[in-house]
């Protein structure tokens, strides 16, 4: 049976060009980038070239890019790093209610350590109202963290406006850009962010590598301790092959972004209009206007999402009920309930995330499978 992949927000396959670059680096460039000799220098060159490639994708200066083990570590470093650098024992942090667990759980840990955390609600379209951010500010606020694009909905948040409010109050602004990088154009200056997280495996690089953009002048305390790597921000011998792959993936994403966005948005719209036209009791969750081009979150009333994921997998279609990290959880998605969806509707929702390998034929086949599966599931739930 053929299997089609509609879960690119969970992870992406490594792009062939990226794989080639990485394997050649892995085989040949084995020096420690901190070593003085020829071998170390070769690794250092690769490392810095990759740093330039990553910086270019987000219009940053290479010296502002810190490599990490992935998006979760980047988020943790941003959240803990800012709060600890603030020196306040009673710091206040503002996050949106629909952040990834990498931010939400970090904030929860800060709360246990004595910090105060405000969770900003989102409207029915999934966006944070910047005015709410202004109202949530306190004299002791040190950090605002709002994701650039949401992993379950694809909704793009008004980061530039929120960052402006943050800076007026002298507060540091972090944005988790894991689901935005490679999907939409990013300029850290026009966004106005001080910190911006990225993950390799969401943009066709391998797992185990990511980056945190740290604007020059941002106070950030380290969260791990060791050598003087990454300008004392993140110790540990650099994962040069992974970093080289991330660089190559960023360059590839940058050069194909405009055309690929348009292609994916076309496929997504084709998918949504077919689903909504052919299957009753369906609708798109969250606002449709300002989204990443590859993500569609749809509810199918009266259908159990968990059962649907299995039924579709057995037909050869890989989709998910939400973020991969929370699948198997009994509680409905915190993102969908934050939109105001009932627990039932949240449990009947599926996330479809398209990618480079997705074709119109695959989309059409997916819609056929959805139509049959939904009809089957609704038929049996009538009898149950």
């Amino acid at each position: 049976m053929q299997h089609f992949y509609f879960d690119h927000n969970a992870t992406t396959p490594v792009a062939p060009e990226v794989l080639e670059t990485m394997v050649s680096c892995l085989g040949q460039v084995y020096g420690n980038a901190s070593s003085i000799h020829h071998f170390g220098q070769a690794a250092k060159q690769k490392l810095e070239a990759a740093r330039r490639q990553v910086a270019a994708l987000i219009h940053a200066s290479p010296t502002e890019v810190v490599f990490t083990s992935g998006g979760t570590e980047a988020d943790n470093l941003a959240v803990f790093g800012v709060v600890r650098a603030s020196g306040r024992s009673q710091a206040h942090v503002i996050v949106s209610a629909i952040e990834h667990p990498a931010v939400l759980a970090s904030a929860a840990q800060l709360e246990r350590e004595g910090a105060a955390v405000t969770h900003l609600p989102v409207g029915p379209n999934g966006t944070v109202d910047p005015e709410q951010v202004r109202r949530a500010l306190r004299p002791e606020t040190v950090l605002i963290s709002v994701m650039h694009a949401n992993n379950e909905l694809g909704v793009v948040e008004p980061i530039a406006e929120i960052a402006r409010i943050a800076h007026e109050a002298g507060v540091t602004m972090h944005s988790d850009g894991v689901q935005a990088a490679g999907k939409i154009a990013i300029d850290v200056d026009s966004l106005g962010v001080d910190l911006y997280s990225m993950s390799g495996h969401k943009l066709y690089a391998p797992k185990g590598v990511g980056a945190l953009y740290v604007r020059k002048g941002t106070k950030l305390a380290p969260t791990a301790f060791g050598g003087h790597h990454e300008r004392d921000r993140r110790p540990g011998t650099e994962n040069v092959p992974g970093i080289v792959a991330l660089g190559a993936a960023c360059e590839l994403a940058g050069s194909t972004l405009a055309a690929e966005s348009e292609r994916l948005a076309g496929l997504r719209d084709r998918f949504e209009s077919s689903v909504l036209g052919r299957i009753s009791g369906t609708g798109v969750n969250g606002g449709r206007a300002n989204r990443t081009p590859n993500t569609s979150n749809v509810y199918f009333d009266g259908v159990d999402g968990e059962a649907m994921v299995i039924a579709l997998d057995l037909r050869g279609f890989a989709v998910s009920t939400g973020s991969a990290c929370s699948s198997g959880a009994i509680t409905p998605s915190h993102v969908l309930t934050a939109l105001g969806l009932s627990a039932d509707r949240a449990r009947s929702s599926l996330r479809f995330s398209l990618g480079r390998s997705t074709t119109a034929e695959q989309v059409d086949a997916l819609v056929d499978a959805l139509e049959a599966s939904v009809a089957h599931l609704r038929r049996i739930s009538v009898h149950a």
């Binding site: 059962a307 299995i310 039924a311 037909r315 089957h376 599931l377 049996i380 149950a384």
Partner: protein, 370 residues
């Protein structure tokens, strides 16, 4: 639906259900393996011993084992989460029954509402008509009566029909028990022969969500987790003729027939005869006081026969390890009840337990001891 409808196998990660999955694959069936996640063992951490490992349901080790077997025999495999239903329909009634001074059988509720209901629904959802489990029991269709019959397993020591008396005709019609004709050593041998990673794994014991069989500790931890201050059920220990012998720490610590843990010195061995949630008294007496020759079974489910409208002879089992005793089933007015009259009085007829009626290997039906 995909080609031929698959069979959904409930895989616990143990040797029995793993062998079922492997056997059905070997017989050429299309299989989907699923593990039901029913209870989060980390939820009540004070109950979990440091070296917790095999033999308890839903531990990560068990899911690991089930997944490994699925991979080995090459079938699609999924973990389905029924924790919410399990808590509502099995754990909460279990707790309520204990607090009411009864001795519940959660495995029967789990079979009725989870394994042969929610799981069957999930099987439906993924296009499977039949489900298969590793239970030791047999099902057959009887042309004459037009009923699906439940029969005791060939392996008498492993027979699990006591926990299956609540199954409906609809459920039995779609259920396969591939181990019903096998004895446990044969199952292990088959597992070894098929080189299953779990072939030497210990059998699971006791009630899956109650570590070490310590019900009282589970009750306390669960109520604490729910933020409920357990209502004190402390009271007196009295004899049948009303003499007070001492005090106890709560009726949920006692079950009918229990001898240990009374904390009373007496010349003759003392046993719990009954518990009374109203007066919170535990009544104790000698072994003979435990004998009982008749009781009512409620919420009776008929399986191999449609019901009784005249007295019927049967062998009746009043707890899992009880050797079925000859009795007569008398219709008791409403169709959901029967009066069971034993030929010889039986020891410790315990409220909350199931009573299962058999005719030889045939399971006629069963109900709850009122």
């Amino acid at each position: 639906m995909p080609d031929a409808a698959p069979i959904a196998v409930a895989m616990s990660g143990g040797v029995d259900s793993s062998t079922v999955a492997a056997l059905l694959v070997r017989q050429g069936h299309k299989i989907v393996g699923m593990t039901m996640q029913l209870w989060n063992q980390r939820r009540l951490p004070e109950l979990v011993p440091e070296n917790a490992g095999h033999g308890r349901c839903c531990s990560l080790d068990d899911v690991y084992d089930a997944r490994r077997v699925a991979e080995q025999v090459g079938i699609p495999y999924y973990v389905v989460n029924f924790e919410q239903q399990f808590e509502e329909q099995v754990v909460k009634p279990f707790v309520a029954e204990y607090l009411a001074g009864r001795t519940p059988v959660p495995c029967t509720l789990c079979n009725n509402y989870i394994k042969f209901d929610r799981f069957l629904e999930m099987a439906d959802a993924v296009g499977a008509h039949f489900i298969a489990t590793g239970h030791y029991a047999r099902v057959r269709y009887d042309e004459a009566s037009g009923r699906y019959q439940l029969l005791r397993a060939r392996d008498n020591s492993k027979d699990q029909t006591y926990f299956l008396f609540g199954l409906t005709q609809k459920q039995l019609a779609r259920t396969l028990f591939p181990l019903g004709e096998m004895v446990k050593p044969e199952v292990r041998e088959l597992a070894r022969e098929m080189d299953l990673a779990v072939a030497e794994k210990d059998d699971s014991q006791e009630i899956c969500f109650v570590p070490n069989g310590d019900y009282a500790a589970f009750l306390n931890a669960y109520l604490k987790d729910k933020g409920v201050e357990p209502q004190s059920t402390r009271g007196e220990i009295v004899t049948i003729d009303g003499r007070t012998l001492g005090e106890h720490q709560g009726i949920h610590h006692f079950t009918v027939g229990q001898r240990k843990g009374l904390g009373i010195a007496a010349r003759e061995p003392l046993y719990v005869i009954s518990t009374d949630p109203r007066t919170q008294r535990v009544v104790v007496g000698g072994n003979d006081d435990l004998l009982c020759s008749r009781f009512f079974a409620r919420q009776v489910n008929w399986i191999s026969i449609a019901g009784v409208d005249a007295p019927v002879r049967a062998q009746v089992k009043i707890r899992n390890k009880h050797a079925a005793a000859p009795a007569t089933l008398h219709p008791a007015g409403d169709p959901g009840s029967v009066e069971v009259v034993f030929d010889e009085p039986q020891r410790a007829v315990t409220p909350g337990q199931g009573a299962v009626f058999c005719d030889g290997d045939l399971v006629l039906g069963g109900g709850w001891i009122g």
